[in-house]
Symmetry: C2
Subunit: 294 residues, 2 copies
């Protein structure tokens, strides 16, 4: 049996796992994200302890970002220009490799979550598909033609520009770079700022949810038109509100207005826009898959 390590490195917590594969978890630990030294140190200590007796073959990391994924770059495997205090320009993959003496595969947190859902979750074998996380921030990843979405950098889909009717919603948005981009209008931070209370305390039926579903639907329609995914998974804290799913599906259909004709966007839409199947483990299980692909 071969063992792999996986890290879901989030801005608020780290999840680390040792597993034979995404369906064979051997050990798991969760701890808060503090300083880079302390947090990466705890991950290293966990893997060292767990690998006694059965050394790890490789470690996969799905990290919050932005991250540098260009293998030719001197800062490959770094968390780069994050506003998170203490974490900007943090070498991550290299530090793990040096400490653990195993190959480390590095990707974004959302690409890792997408890979997890693709391997054994709600998008098993579905290509192309998109995974959105809508929480404090908004990000997306996905699988296209058999591999995660990489490019010049990596997707930063939270920052697409969508229509914003300031007469209906005068809120200027919270994105420090773009104001009312998608993340600026629809992230958990935007909800808290617009309504003066955290999203989780807004009651069902509050107008916040209809507006939120409208912005999410606009972003989804843009992805449907530009990438033509075969499925869209919506995860993240805000999407814990299950009542958002029917609202989003209905508004996606309204916005497409019959232009793209496919059963998945009509009778099949409940299976087209779906929650993740792996709950809060998509990212870490995807990191295990990443390690296996090494």
């Amino acid at each position: 049996m071969e063992y792999y390590g996986g890290i879901e490195a989030g801005g608020t917590k780290f999840v680390c796992m040792v597993a034979g594969g995404p369906e064979d978890i051997r050990a798991e630990i969760r701890f808060p994200t503090t300083t880079p030294g302390e947090t990466i140190g705890r991950a290293v200590a966990f893997f060292r302890e767990q690998s006694r007796g059965h050394p790890l073959r490789a470690v996969g990391v799905g990290s919050f970002g932005p991250v540098d994924l260009d293998p030719l770059s001197p800062t490959y495997g770094y968390i780069t220009s994050t506003p998170k205090p203490g974490w900007a320009q943090t070498g991550f993959a290299g530090r793990l490799e040096a400490a653990l003496q195993v190959p480390v595969r590095f990707d974004t947190d959302v690409n890792a979550a997408a890979l997890g859902e693709y391997a054994c979750g709600a998008a098993r074998g579905v290509d192309p598909f998109i995974y959105f996380t809508i929480g404090t921030g908004i990000g997306a990843g996905g699988i296209v033609n058999g591999a995660p979405m990489h490019g010049l950098l990596h997707p930063e889909t939270g920052h697409i520009h969508i229509p914003h009717d300031r007469a209906a919603d005068p809120f200027p948005g919270v994105c420090p770079y773009h104001g009312d981009c998608f993340e600026g209008l629809a992230s958990g931070s935007a909800l808290r700022e617009r309504w003066g209370q955290p999203a989780e305390t807004l009651p069902a039926g509050h107008p916040a949810w209809d507006l939120e579903a409208h912005y999410i639907a606009l972003a989804l329609v843009n992805l449907i038109c530009s990438l033509s995914p075969r499925r869209i998974i919506l995860g993240g804290g805000v999407m814990q509100r299950q009542e958002l799913f029917p609202l989003v599906r209905q508004k996606v259909r309204q916005l497409l207005n019959g232009y793209i004709l496919h059963p998945s966007l009509e009778a099949g839409i409940d299976q087209y826009i779906v929650p993740p199947a792996l709950g809060n483990r998509s990212g870490c299980l995807g990191a295990i898959v990443l390690a296996q692909q090494n």
Copy 2:
């Protein structure tokens, strides 16, 4: 030597070629798109005549759409719900296969153009990249992880929703499905309708060009954020106006506002947002490449 056939099937004209490869053109013909029977008939007659002595190995088609690209669908290889009179629900690939007795590979006109530019044009070996055509209508195709962008259907990037400030631009848009989607605001048809004259007669320095560059830049930023392409090619009739390129590049940088830091979006932007290198042959040369991939 093996020979291949290529068709760029446009809504106004067809281009057909016989070639040993994209850099070895043997014969080429252009004729207007009339009825399906007559137009496909002319293509068949051209290939029959050209293949005397050296039979074709395969034919590639890059077609206007929407088209059905699902090999499992009963209408695979059809032009489907096009508003073009006489062409809705037209079997195309199958008709060619039956008439010519060779395998036919079928894709969208923009994916074919992207494939041509990828094989021997302005995106040689660049992955991922996006090809936009901005003409009477707007479409996009591209290469991601080594293959053209397919999915539930195919990209319909002209129909993404972008911000539209109705105070600055009260024009409601021309898209019969969405009004002021990207195509509704920025296609050649939109330009003609908004300004009361065809785009090609609008003088340099006319406010039309600044507004046009703004909408194109919004769409590009959305693709940059969601797909992270390594290059963007802008082709099509409207982009014949070379003065659009510096305007679009400048507005893309303004809209990104320093969020995505990469040399290609700064000093290198003149090599990042570029015109096609194959002129009006991208689509047909891409169709030849498609045939070779058979």
